[in-house]
């Protein structure tokens, strides 16, 4: 059997150093890592357990925004009163993700590191070709079963979907991820596959996610996460939208709008074209629907995933109109 070392980190710094070594991986909730180890995708030599580290699971919310420790559990964040009132889209994205059991285990930092559900990526024995797993080996998904693959942000090397929900809401509200001292926008933390689909995150060896910070805003306060999926629970998005809106004093003219998409792209997908088209306009259904088409500008389908190009703009439009109703 494949032996590996298990290391209980004594501090965040020790964890970072240990995880910097080749073959080492951080272990938090384990909901992705253990799953991938079982299907033969992840084969760490060393697991650096950080779940017991103190001080990394705090959730702080105030006027300026929210800071969520990397080890906070998804279910705790989803249920946090401040998150629910100031960032409803974040809470809703978390509640609609995974299952109750997984949400109770999974951490926020681990959630950002969630890997794709591409079935070809997850089955090395039957599908050896996967550029994400083995750079240069090819892409088994292109030409295969693509119903769940990305229509935005893909490359010739990889069309794997980013499967998560939380990061979609984070991207919409300009959240940053804290890698110790270094901070970068969540939007920049997730990388497009390009020619290097094996590299999914802008994180370097020796770095560890310590927190996520979401700036407070009126748009975040009036926000929602709309997730459309084949079944009502425990299922990834066919298409989803995190939307936040701020009106001018007239209650009709859009001052600020945030739109990000899930379930359609290789990373959490900010739809700035939709935002720009509607900012300064009066909220009106036909205009919203027309502008929402811009969400899938440049989309390319692979046959079975074509429906996503139809579906995503409808999800965006519904979410914006729903927020408008609550004026």
């Amino acid at each position: 059997m494949r032996d590996f070392s298990y290391l209980r980190a004594t501090s965040a710094d020790a964890a970072r150093q240990a995880a910097a070594l080749p073959g080492a991986m951080l272990l938090a909730g384990g909901t992705t890592l253990i799953d991938l180890a079982k299907c033969g995708v992840a084969a760490p030599d060393t697991l650096v357990d950080i779940t017991h580290l103190k001080g990394l699971d705090k959730i702080e919310v105030n006027e300026r925004g929210a800071t969520i420790g990397a080890l906070a559990r998804m279910s705790h964040v989803a249920d946090h009163a401040g998150i629910k009132s100031r960032f409803p889209a974040v809470s809703e994205a978390l509640w609609q993700a995974a299952s109750a059991q997984l949400r109770n285990m999974a951490t926020i930092g681990g959630n950002l590191m969630q890997r794709t559900r591409c079935p070809y990526f997850r089955d090395p024995s039957n599908f050896p070709a996967c550029n994400k797993r083995e750079p240069g080996s090819g892409c088994s998904a292109i030409g295969g079963v693509t119903r769940g693959h990305a229509v935005l942000g893909a490359s010739d090397a990889c069309i794997a979907m980013y499967p998560g929900d939380l990061a979609v809401a984070l991207v919409a509200f300009d959240a940053t991820v804290h890698l110790g001292e270094r901070k970068l926008l969540v939007d920049d933390f997730f990388l497009r596959p390009g020619a290097t689909p094996d590299r999914e995150h802008a994180i370097e060896p020796g770095e560890m996610i310590t927190a996520v910070e979401i700036p407070g805003s009126a748009a975040a306060r009036r926000s929602t996460y709309l997730k459309i999926r084949d079944r009502q629970s425990y299922e990834f998005a066919a298409a989803s939208a995190a939307v936040g809106i701020e009106f001018e004093a007239d209650g009709r003219t859009i001052r600020d709008l945030r739109v990000a998409l899930g379930g359609v792209a290789t990373k959490p997908w900010r739809a700035r074209a939709v935002e720009d088209a509607l900012k300064g306009k009066v909220l009106e259904p036909d205009a919203v629907r027309a502008a929402s088409r811009l969400a899938v500008e440049g989309a390319v389908d692979h046959g079975a995933n074509h429906y996503k190009i139809e579906l995503a703009p409808r999800v965006v439009a519904r979410a914006i109109l729903k927020l408008g109703e609550t004026v």
């Binding site: 059997m1 494949r2 079935p119 039957n126 295969g144 459309i228 009502q232 299922e235």
Partner: protein
């Protein structure tokens, strides 16, 4: 999920503990507390663990299996390949057809599907076995595969003449009918996906083999193991105390069982082999994919003049599975002209198998969708058109129904559902963005009958023990047999211990086709009656009995106490009586076999399905019936379908335990919702390989997908169907759910979806 139930119609209003009462599952506490020990949870000394190596191509030949690395891996005890595994004999099929006189090798050299077992590794620990299995290197000479029914290479397939049903002149009557509809309906590969995966522990003691394995048929599987290894039937013992779901998939001994038992024999140690979840999608067959064409010719009044039906199901390259697609088509509606024919098409798949209502389920999707299409064509209410074409007798067998409470089911369901408030036009009912649709469909399942045997013992403490090699996979066998013995002997059900799931017990046929309850309540009733007769006989005749001087012709036993029918004279407990007459127990064996049955008859009855009685035997045609009324909400922008209300009225005859029957019906309805909206084995056409071989990607309903389900029993006792008046329960309720949902989706959206599952991209 909230579940409302109206009951009492077919139950006897009896005490919970008697037959017909709502006794809770007697095995429930053990399962909830974890005390129930499942087959592969046995802890045996010296247990070794096996892991399978599966083919990664769908068609071709194994060129080389390189086991060098695997053999050198830590803890590895043996690596089995077609060259190293011991040779077995071919076994007979489930009809008892004598096998070909050639060896059987459960590891394949010729590959006919992706996921076929080609090698196995046995090691000291599970982890070592899994790790070493990944080190076995297999190279192949690959040949083109036939992926599925739509593959250009698949062709029209092989006609199955036994499936042909014809009367009148259906094509001519169709050609001259004033109203004609014709459509093709498709169902994909679907999988049983039981919570408990398949697996076993095999242990040899000399030439005796014990197999702990979840099983829907201990005696049938014991026969197969015995034939594989050339053993007398008696030398094989199957043990299966609890089963974590079968749905048809655990009735036969399969190749992984042969591999584990061979490994145990070769190693001289007990071996455990449990399939991984992905292996449960390729290691045995789910429901075959099907394609049906249904043409109906009718008058403007909606009265059917002709039905022409053609069906195709897929089977494997070297196995035969027929999914009888004309089974509902040929009996649901009266028609003077009818033609149904079926082909099977060979594809590179594991041989498909039985899955809840094989045949009837996809058959009903065809005919119950088609008659809905006819209803819109002629402008008649979908419920009314079903009543206009009501079959007053079995149109195929031309025999009277034993009982058919389908009209009552339509009436009760429609009333409860509020069908009269339905507006007929598609897209005419909505709630905001939600289009609302109401659909109806009927279902049916034949009453399959066979024979069973049981032992009933009355023990010294007055308790009663029942033994049978039949099984309980959650449907409630433990409970209803306790109720049967309790009522028959006259003791509380709490004082009855039912022992099942061991092939050393009196024998039983397959738990499949919804037959077990009818068979086993009959056998237990007979054995218990015989035990009671012995008890009363002793009480009357034994000089030491307190009743000896009473000069009674008979006595009654009630609540564990014996007394005279008139209430005069002494009254003692069963324990006291047995003590007074110096007996430590009374034992009776009861079986329902014909009186002149030979030992060979009995063996054949319990180890094959060849002796099952046809449902049209004698003067009657015997079936369960149901009507489903279903409301869906379809989001007009997103195409998502959610079932928001279900009312189903069902005729399973007399219910031995309404609580358990309702539970099974609801389970069938839930499974039908999954079939309609979610379930589909998705194939990579280049590799001939299922890609959603896990429970995250093969979608079954979650609680959030299931609305209020109301079930109504409309059955009446049917003594032509079983000794105590029940008909089949387990498979009935799934039949007709998918077409009721598809019909509701049409009513909601105006779009007719004829390919399951009804996913959102088919509606946006």
């Amino acid at each position: 999920m909230t579940v409302h139930t109206r009951h009492g119609d077919a139950s006897d209003g009896a005490l919970a503990q008697a037959v017909g009462g709502r006794l809770s599952r007697v095995d429930g506490p053990a399962k909830i507390t974890g005390a129930a020990k499942y087959a592969v949870e046995q802890q045996l000394e010296g247990l070794a663990y096996a892991a399978l190596v599966e083919s990664t191509i769908a068609s071709g030949k194994v060129r080389v299996i390189d086991t060098t690395q695997a053999e050198a891996a830590p803890g590895v005890l043996q690596v089995l390949t077609p060259d190293t595994i011991i040779s077995l004999r071919s076994a007979s099929d489930w009809f008892g057809t004598p096998p070909p006189d050639k060896p059987y090798c459960p590891l394949a050299r010729d590959i006919t599907f992706s996921g076929q077992h080609v090698a196995a590794v046995v090691a000291e620990t599970f982890e070592q076995a899994v790790a070493a299995a990944a080190l076995v290197k297999v190279s192949y000479d690959e040949t083109p595969s036939i992926v599925d029914l739509s593959d250009a290479k698949a062709g029209d397939g092989i006609p199955v003449d036994a499936m042909t049903k014809e009367w009148g002149d259906a094509p001519a009557a169709f050609a001259s009918a004033p109203v004609r509809i014709c459509a093709a309906y498709n169902t994909p590969r679907e999988y049983q996906a039981p919570m408990e995966p398949h697996g076993l522990i095999a242990r040899w003691e000399g030439d005796h083999l014990t197999v702990w394995e979840p099983s829907q048929w201990l005696d049938g599987m014991a026969r197969t193991y015995a034939e594989w290894f050339g053993l007398p039937f008696e030398n094989v013992r199957l043990v299966s105390p609890y089963i974590g779901g079968g749905f048809g998939s655990k009735a036969l001994a399969l190749s992984h069982g042969a591999i584990a038992a061979s490994a145990a024999k070769m190693l001289g140690r007990p071996v455990k082999l449990v399939m991984t979840r992905p292996q449960t999608f390729t290691g045995y067959g789910g429901r075959a994919a099907t394609r049906q064409t249904v043409t109906i010719g009718a008058g403007h009044d909606g009265v059917i003049q002709s039905i022409v039906h053609r069906g195709v199901n897929e089977t494997s390259i070297d196995g035969m599975w027929v999914e009888p697609l004309g089974s509902v088509t040929s009996i649901m509606y009266a028609t003077p002209n009818f033609s149904s024919k079926q082909n099977v098409v060979r594809v590179n798949s594991v041989v498909p198998g039985a899955m809840r209502a094989p045949g009837e389920n996809p058959s009903a999707f065809g005919i119950e969708s088609a008659i809905d299409e006819l209803a819109y064509q002629v402008g008649i209410d979908p419920l009314e058109i079903r009543l206009r074409n009501y079959a007053e007798q079995d149109p195929h067998a031309r025999k009277a129904w034993s009982t058919r409470q389908l009209r009552e089911a339509f009436a009760a369901g429609a009333e409860r559902f509020g069908w009269a408030r339905r507006t007929p036009e598609p897209r005419s009912m909505r709630d905001g963005n939600q289009l609302i649709g109401w659909g109806v469909a009927a279902g049916t399942y034949p009453v399959r009958r066979a024979y069973g045997e049981a032992i009933v013992r009355i023990l010294a403490d007055g308790s009663v023990e029942v033994e049978s090699s039949s099984i309980d996979m959650g449907q409630g066998t433990y409970t209803i047999l306790a109720q049967t013995a309790a009522e028959t002997v006259g003791v509380p059900a709490d004082d009855v211990v039912v022992k099942l799931g061991d092939s050393r017990f009196p024998r039983a046929g397959v738990t499949g086709g919804s037959r077990l309850a009818g068979v086993m309540t009959g056998a237990v009733h007979k054995a218990a009656t015989s035990a009671l007769d012995q008890l009363i006989g002793l009480a009357i005749s034994d000089p030491r009995s307190p009743f000896h001087t009473l000069q009674a012709n008979t006595l009654v036993v009630s609540n564990g106490r014996i007394g005279s029918p008139r209430g005069d004279g002494p009254e003692v407990s069963i324990a006291e009586l047995l003590k007074s007459v110096g007996r430590d127990h009374i034992e009776a064996t009861g079986d329902t076999m014909p009186a002149n049955s030979t030992a060979e008859d009995r063996y054949k009855n319990y180890t094959t399905i060849a002796m099952a009685l046809p449902h049209t035997e004698g003067n009657y045609s015997r079936h369960s019936w149901c009507a489903h009324f279903i409301e869906v909400r379809v989001d007009e922008d997103f195409g998502t379908v959610r079932v928001s209300r279900v009312v189903s009225a069902l005729d399973s005859g007399r219910l031995y335990n309404p609580k358990l029957a309702e539970s099974q019906w609801k389970g069938g309805i839930i499974m039908g919702i999954g079939q309609a909206l979610l379930e589909e084995g998705v194939m990579d056409r280049r590799h001939g390989r299922i890609v959603n071989d896990n429970l995250a990607d093969y979608l079954v309903p979650t609680n959030a997908d299931i609305p209020d389900i109301e079930v109504i029993s409309v059955g009446i006792p049917d003594l032509h169907s079983s000794a105590l008046g029940g008909k089949g329960v387990g498979e009935l309720a799934i039949v007709g759910v998918a077409p009721a949902i598809a019909n509701a989706v049409f009513h909601a959206t105006g779009k007719r979806v004829r390919d399951l599952p009804i996913t959102l991209e088919k509606l946006i």
